[in-house]
Amino acid sequence: MRLPFTLLLGGAVLAALQSAGAQNLTLPETIQAGAAFDVQTTGSGNGTLYIVGPSQVLQQKVTLGQTASFDSGTLTNAGIYTVVLTGGSSTEHRALNVLPAKDAAHITFLARPSRLPVNLHNGISGAVYVFDAYHNLITKPMPVSFDLTPPSGAAQHGKATTMDGAAWVQLNSTPKEGMSKFVAQVGGVTSQRIVEQVPGAPCRLQMSAKRSGQQLELQTDPVRDCSGNAVPDGTIVTFTEDYKGTQSTVDVPLKRGIAKVEMPAHSGATITVASGVVLGNEIHWTE
């Protein structure tokens, strides 16, 4: 007999509340950002519905006992909201979770550096944050592909899966100089950055010497990096002549890939060449 009595009592309480103008509200526990949804109210008279979160606040006048409908694109910011219904004799409230939409619509792509030497192991890094159409961070795991395409030669590929909306990759710079396209893709959304790969440090310095009057004419072979790319004009090459304990140094910029200079032709002098940390050959000049 207890169950029927309980039901009877519950029904009586509900009827009493409704007759007193009390209201209730029914709504989904969770929706996707931007989705349409309904809030069912009970009671009679007029009320106000508030949807309150730290990212968005909505207010709507309602007729108690009716369904309040919210169109798609109305509640767009992911977060935890409190839905409050006022009016009648009491105030009711429920929690509402708004999750990010499922599909990626925007990527924030951080690529570094924008310029680097060729052939650098793990020299290029990329990080992405993935967002939906309402700029909510999509926190469920999503596959991301990264492609680094040089002007010539094979592209490099990297794959990653987002964790809490973030993913990253590291790639080697390619052997050939030039502008590479660095692309991140999630679903159908892509974002591109340009990475300039420049020749590395000179790999081998070779100079030759010949007499020119009272002077020695010193000239390097074309200066290249270890991948065979021409080192840019303007790179400084240093020639040093040691003679009887006296040292003379001349810095010369590369011009059309080679460095040229004239130094005194002392018999017994030692001449060296260097660029940055790279040392070239040594010449002992004797006559």
């Binding site: 990212s55 968005q56 992911a78 105030t91 979770n97 890094s125 990080a127 964790m163 973030a166």
Partner: protein, 173 residues
């Protein structure tokens, strides 16, 4: 996990951050703060002082956010928020003003962990499991108190002198 220093240093970091967190709260509203050692996916080592600064600035951003939503003053967000986070909080404050309400967030506990440090060092991501009450006031009268447990996903970027919150998004724990 890449982190400069290992378990001993990480424990020290957690202890330091607990101390840092204490002055941020006031009186009975003081939240408890736990900071787990960073569990960073990413190739960049996370220096201890960087982790400390990010967590400290994040906790301070909560104070700023609470004040802004309580007083309906978006200008209070200028120090600690930027980008999407600032835009959305500002929009919420505009919505509160329009609706004639204000909101008081009473955070009871934070459980924070740094989970990502981007390779170029331009963003830090952390998660924070927060327990709080959301109190909604209309014309100075408390309408409702809604207790909540949320997992906040936060992305911070460096500015000249501090880490600022760029994304701050709650989801159910």
């Amino acid at each position: 996990m890449k982190f400069i220093g290992r378990s001993k240093d990480l424990k020290r970091l957690a202890a330091v951050l607990l101390v840092i967190a204490t002055p941020l709260a006031f009186g009975a509203d003081q939240p408890s703060v736990q900071v787990k050692p960073p569990d960073v996916h990413g190739p960049r080592p996370l220096a201890q002082q960087t982790a400390e600064a990010a967590v400290r600035d994040y906790l301070e951003s909560w104070q700023e956010m609470k004040s802004a939503l309580d007083q309906n003053r978006a200008s209070l967000l200028n120090r600690d928020f930027e980008g999407e986070a600032k835009d959305k909080l500002s929009a919420a404050i505009s919505g509160q003003i329009k609706a004639g309400i204000h909101t008081k967030y009473v955070d009871r506990s934070h459980n924070i962990q740094i989970v990502f440090y981007s390779p170029e060092g331009l963003s830090i991501q952390l998660v924070d499991n927060v327990e709080y009450d959301q109190q909604i006031f209309q014309n100075g009268k408390l309408l409702v108190t809604q207790p909540a447990r949320a997992r906040y996903v936060v992305v911070m970027t460096p500015s000249q002198v501090r880490w600022r919150v760029r994304i701050m998004q709650a989801q159910p724990e």
